[in-house]
């Protein structure tokens, strides 16, 4: 357990020291949402109608940007091979790296989401549901995305390929994440959608480390 925490701390320290990556993910998230009022016009009703979808899609795209780097640096400098040889199972290492990635790149998205909800004219009582849904959904995105990040190690044009691979797998998270916020916007209980979202996140927690570790092992063979 200590060793896993050590991996989390190391990855966090590296990304915080680098700093720009997490900041860029956050800025991309904000920019992507802010473009919509310019594109569809500032009329409040329209923005409120599409707001939940826009924020969620932007969160998906921003998550994907950060995912490319999950294993990349360690793969290139040989650190990944050392991690594979460590006494901790590779699945645990993957989980630790994903945790660090989510803390640095996913959590900031959750924190700034109410501001973006306001930009998209979502009603105030919907914002807590938006935060909760993203809080459950973004770890699921990081977990599912880790599989893609492992698969593209050593590929040409890995970044573009990652989008093609990972976006279809993100769709269930998107569908239920938006339906939770939409339900709240209509005054209906969001519990059902949030529970399903939680189920998907738990499923990802159980399966993704295993699949991502398999992908990383293939890359190192």
């Amino acid at each position: 357990m200590n060793r896993l925490l050590a991996v989390v701390r190391r990855d966090l320290r590296l990304s915080l020291r680098q700093g720009t990556d997490s900041l860029m993910t956050l800025v991309f998230f904000v920019l992507a949402v802010v473009l919509f009022p310019f594109g569809v016009g500032p009329e409040p009703n329209i923005l409120a109608r599409i707001g939940s979808g826009v924020v969620w899609v932007a969160a998906l795209l921003a998550s994907m940007l950060a995912l490319e780097k999950l294993f990349q640096a360690d793969f290139e400098d040989g650190g990944l091979e050392l991690l594979v040889l460590a006494p901790i199972p590779l699945e645990g290492i993957v989980l630790a790296k994903v945790t660090a990635h989510w803390l640095a790149a996913g959590l900031p998205l959750v924190v700034i989401s109410p501001l973006l909800g306001v930009f998209m004219n979502l009603p105030a009582d919907v914002l807590p549901v938006l935060i909760l849904a993203l809080l459950i959904g973004t770890p699921a995105l990081s977990l599912i995305g880790a599989i893609g990040a492992g698969l593209i190690l050593g590929a040409r044009r890995g970044g573009v390929l990652l989008s093609l691979l990972v976006l279809p797998l993100f769709i269930p998270v998107l569908v239920f994440g938006v339906s939770a916020v939409e339900a709240a916007a209509q005054g209906l209980p969001a519990k059902a959608s949030l529970l399903i979202l939680g189920g998907i996140a738990l499923g990802a927690l159980a399966l993704s480390p295993w699949a991502a570790a398999a992908a990383v092992r293939q890359a190192l063979e």
Partner: protein
Amino acid sequence: MKRLDWFANPTRFLKLARAVQPWAGWVALAAGVSGLYFALFASPADYQQGESVRIMYVHVPSAWMALFCYTALAAASAVALIWKHPLADLAGKATAPIGAAFTFLALVTGSLWGKPMWGTWWVWDARLTSVLVLLFLYFGYIALNGAFDDPTRGARASAVLALVGFINVPIIKFSVDWWNTLHQPASIIRAGGPAVHSSMLVPLLLMALAFKAYYVWILIIRLRAEIAAGKLRAARLKDAARSGA
């Protein structure tokens, strides 16, 4: 001068493949021609849908093949990853484009059937959406397979992807039961047997047989091409090594 034998037993496989290939082709042709005869001439129009029901005879077999090919892809991927059999890698690589083509056909013919029947070219219900995701999975597999300089690395990476994406297959199959969909529920492969009259079942099954045989036929052609390409690569590497020495 001996050629590098790159596989365990490609020669034996090639002998079998060359024998089976024409049979598969002729079965595809025979089943296809008779299927089309029944589909277009010798079967009745539908009481509600009129002549547009004939689209079913290409739409449904295409959809069946889309799922069948992905299942074959997943099976080949499992074999490739567990036993590292090189032919399994090639079988997956050869199957993916065929499966993608059938998925595309299922979507397009479904759209052409939907417009007169439902009044719309497309709807985001569970069945259509999950089949579209299937098409993206096929594209992802093909892209990942070709994204590495080392073909084996590409094959293994796409095999992992194929297995991860397999969850979509039961989702597609049961989507019309689990969700409220515009797409109609299952009427052939269901508990209680087919709910379709034999005059329509016959052309449907003939077209399904034709598509299956077509798949086997094209699979063998593509496998032969992959094996030849592999030998070519190996021979060229050997040539380069020799002339460089």
